[in-house]
Point group: C2
Chain length 142, copies 2
DNA sequence: TAATACATTATATTTATTCTAAACTGTTGA
DNA sequence: TCAACAGTTTAGAATAAATATAATGTATTA
């Protein structure tokens, strides 16, 4: 099971012991070159479909939060009833399609550097996120 | 009660009848030149402190949603346990101070136009929001 | 002013998330 | 091998924001 080494490494670096359940979560999140967006509910569904092991909600939440703290995942700043997470932790932005409830990456190169001239004394900027909401562009619609 | 005319007008244009409770909500939200941010909980608290009338949560939620639909209020796209709303509906952006749970306006002029080169077929951009998270800038902190 | 349509309210419901406490597991050291 | 311990998992309870419900109340209209 040498391919699990990277997962075990990620877990250890996040301060977590490598357990069956956590490695399974890693397999779903990190075992591919492609990055993706997900909600906790979706993640649990994927795990249930793929695995013969059961993972509780509490374990999923705990693990996700540890990965976010470590920087292996990002939370996407979006008003929604549930939180969206991103396995793409590089600096980038998002379209949010409100009609289809779908997130689409915008590569950093596709947005000019966001240059904020205002500063707050004693504070520094930790992150800058752009969310562009998109809707259908039907001519027929008003 | 001539000063209430503007509130009655806003309510009617939002498709709502002007009732005591709704006018009270308007007084809190719109009876000042200054714009501000609020959560539902904060709004209810302000109303309770100012008014001798009782307004139920359901009425507050319904009224706020009608105003958002009409464009008299904006929801601020922020991951938080509760939603934040803004009486400033002009195009602008926000700092979010995670340590103090505080929103600060960034005037449109203080951010260069966000120019997104990527497009999605059949979709048009409805809104673009920038959220810059800020934290303390202590030298003592790592 | 009567009839109607819409509002308000308290309460129940829903749903995401967090908490809890008991049972479990893996590691360490004797 | 086993006891002890620290950390894990889990089901279910708790929490809290937001929404739905249904009975009662109020504004509007003709």
């Amino acid at each position: 099971m040498a391919y699990a080494e990277q997962f075990i490494d990620k877990l250890r670096k996040s301060g977590l012991r490598p357990t069956k359940q956590r490695i399974k979560i890693c397999e779903v999140l990190f075992d591919t070159d492609k990055t993706f967006h997900f909600t906790i509910k979706e993640l649990v569904k994927i795990i249930e479909n793929q695995a013969n092991i059961k993972v509780s909600l509490a374990t999923v939440y705990n693990t996700i939060h540890a990965f976010i703290k470590k920087g292996y995942l990002k939370e996407i700043p979006l008003n929604a009833s549930q939180s969206y997470y991103d396995t793409n932790v590089t600096h980038h932005h998002h379209f949010f399609d409100e009609e289809e409830n779908r997130l689409i990456d915008i590569h950093q190169d596709d947005v000019d550097e966001v240059n904020i001239k205002k500063t707050i004394p004693g504070k520094k900027i930790k992150s800058v996120e752009v969310i562009a909401k998109i809707v259908s562009d039907n001519q027929s619609q008003k």
